[in-house]
Amino acid sequence: MASPSRVSDRGPFAGYELDGAWDEMFDSSGEPRPHYQELYSRLLAIPADELRRRKQAADLAFLNQGITFNVYGREEGAEQIFPHDLLPRIIARAEWREIEAGLTQRITALNLFLQDIYHQGRILSDKVIPREVIYTCRHYRREMRGIHVPQGRYLTVVGTDLIRRPDGRFVVLEDNLRVPSGVSYMLTGREIVKRMFPILYQSCGVMPIDHYSQLLLSTLRGLAPREVADPTIVLLSPGIYNSAYFEHAFLARQMGIDLVEGCDLAVHEDIVYMRTTSGLVRVDVIYRRIDDDFIDPLAFRQDSGLGAAGIFNAYRVGNIALGNAIGTGVADDKAVFAYVPKIIKYYLGEDPILENVETYLMTDDAQRAYVLDHIDEMVVKAVGESGGYGMLIGPHSSTEQHEEFRRRILADPRNYIAQPVVNLSRAPCFVEGQAHARHVDLRPYILFGDKVTIVPGGLTRVALRRGSLVVNSSQGGGSKDTWIIHE
């Protein structure tokens, strides 16, 4: 790793350091990259006090709008302000095009994969993926075998996490194919940053993202199983104590659809209704923001009070569409992730445009032995978890924790994968009145309708703690606005 060097001693960048990670803003000689030039010179021209004032104004806007999330394991309903960084993260248009092409390819292949494994299972017969990998997936849903999903679309909304390696290449860290969240922070963050830097925003020629909600609505409408002029679409939320409730309410309002909870739904003779002030109204499409397990106590977890009894039967007979379909989690299992390059090749006959982060399967003897020997250099993750829960970051953990994870891996190899620690790229963040380098990732949101649509940008997540590589909001992460601009 190169020794830290300073880029500049000017303005907010005094003391800003570069290290072995790719810096989004500065090249290795400490010069701002061309697409960051405008932001750089603008920031130097804004007095320090003014920057602080804007930071406070932005924080206040977040507080007053109640842009919050809940953290599990704390007092119920303890809302936290979503930490948002003032400085936008900028990506050049040319580079974005490649990301877009890579994600489109990836999602198209994953949808074909889901269609296949819940029907003929060709990819399994052809031994591209071992059967046991699929059938041991926690999120594989046997109940979905042979069920026709509307338009053959298993995936409706996907959030794929990308990171940038020290060599500057974007690679895929994981796919979120069940109920990806965070898009509301992308949309509200943009509104606020636009207000903080109106001139800069205009002069940069940032590509707009405001049409996301309309795109989502028409994608959902495309799923309607019934020929009606105006299908009833609802967003099903677990309710206000869910960590993403703000987002559920936000999206429902933006789309002008009803936000329902399980208690608002009733299923009668395989038709789903919602309770309204004018009696029961038939529902056609459910954008569900609750997990498979909780959607229907008759079909899945019996103790779930969040869904509605009978939804799955209505789904099976084709009276209701769900976005995303049930059982999509099998394709974002972290062990299946390792096979995605093969999946792309198998269904599309193409090489993947976006590489995967190297992934070791603990069921493979050689790979496991290697990981157990090098666990202090690895990130070990439980395959069915997300949100930064149930993982070990080797270099930042104690010997006891290493031992603990070695034991867990040996006890249940199928449940873990390991990835080498990737030094995520860094971008300047405004912390305590100065710009400091913090590690970031990128989650673009992909809508799968008649075609694949990706609004230009996404959620840049930031590890706000110095040196930290964990960007999840539940683990002290924040977000940044993401600008795609013409160079």
């Binding site: 507080l63 007053n64 709008q65 109640g66 206000i240 409730y245 703000f246 559920h248 309410a249 936000f250 429902a252 309002r253 009803d258 936000l259 329902v260 909870e261 208690c263 608002d264 009733a266 009668h268 209704y273 919602m274 309770r275 309204t276 002030t277 004018s278 009696g279 029961l280």
Partner: protein, 314 residues
């Protein structure tokens, strides 16, 4: 509109109306207390508590206003604002973003240390902030969202709460100060002014009757006036107009709500104050309060808590 959403909008509005009313009442009584010849302090707060429909809080009498404002009870001003915000949070996609923002801002300003510090330095400013915050919320509500069903449930909550609070307030006041005439003590006179002021009614009253205060006129103004927004009749007209525009939920339950509101509205439209006073104000107000309660229950049964079988296939 979802039944759960209608219910939350209704309660959001009721809770906020209640906070605003309590703030006006407490503010006015803190003001009346400043006069040296005013009535005994404990008697005053017993009356305020009774008007708000809560038990007289324990503790030293100097702290009662603060308890009514910040207390743990679900009827304190801060509890009501928190409850209104919680209702709004449950249906955030249905309240306009500006509405939510204003309610959230009010909540953040009154709760915890920020609110108590403000109270300690100046209770009047604090209560004024509550009232202005509630007025701003109502203004935003009326001028930024569609005047559709959701708005009508907000109207229902606001005016049912207001009518009930007015009936309670008048009942308690007339129980203590039955009459007002040239021979009355100055302190009594001030209490009548206070009654009007706590309903923002003093200036409105003077426009109609001049500053010549008389008990039956005060009652007439707060009960039967057609143009003053804090009269029970005005409230009933708004309630009736909201009820008429609601969808036909279940025919029978809806018809009941229409009948109940029509009956009370008619009683207010065709009564005159002499008859009411000679028959006794207390039983009359009691009857009004009972009918308001029936309307509240009727609305729930027609739109929120109906049995499922009744409307399958509808």
């Amino acid at each position: 509109m979802l039944s759960r959403v209608a219910d939350n909008l209704y309660w959001m509005s009721r809770h906020l109306e209640r906070a605003e009313h309590a703030a006006s009442l407490i503010d006015e009584h803190l003001n009346l207390m400043l006069d040296s010849f005013s009535i005994p302090v404990d008697q005053r707060w017993t009356r305020v508590a009774a008007s708000l429909g809560v038990a007289m809080p324990d503790g030293p009498v100097e702290g009662i206003a603060q308890t009514l404002t910040f207390g743990e009870s679900s009827f304190s001003i801060v509890s009501c604002i928190a409850a209104a915000r919680e209702n709004a949070r449950q249906v955030r996609e249905q309240t306009g973003s500006a509405m939510w923002e204003q309610l959230n801002r009010l909540f953040l300003a009154v709760r915890g240390a920020a609110g108590e510090n403000q109270w300690t330095s100046d209770p009047h400013e604090f209560l004024k902030m509550v009232r202005e915050g509630a007025h701003l919320f109502q203004g935003i509500t009326d001028s930024t969202i569609n005047h559709d069903q959701g708005w009508r449930f907000i109207e229902l909550g606001r005016y049912l709460e207001r009518a009930g609070a007015l009936a309670a307030l008048l009942d308690v006041h007339f129980d203590m100060f039955a009459d007002l005439g040239p021979s009355s003590e100055l302190s009594e006179h001030l209490e009548w002014v206070g009654l009007l002021k706590s309903c923002s009614a003093f200036e409105g009253y003077c426009k109609v009757y001049t500053a010549d205060l008389r008990a039956d006129r005060v009652a007439e103004f707060l009960l039967l006036n057609t143009v003053f927004p804090h009269s029970i009749r005005f409230c009933m007209e708004r309630i009736q107009s909201a009820v008429r525009s609601l969808p036909e939920g279940s025919r029978k339950a809806t018809a009941r709500v229409v009948r109940l509101t029509g009956r009370l509205r008619a009683a207010l439209s065709f009564s005159n104050i002499e008859e009411i006073m000679s028959a006794g104000l207390h039983p009359w107000l009691d009857n009004v309060r009972r009918q308001l309660e029936q309307i509240h229950v009727g609305i729930r049964e027609a739109y929120v808590d109906y049995p499922i079988e009744r409307s399958v296939g509808a």
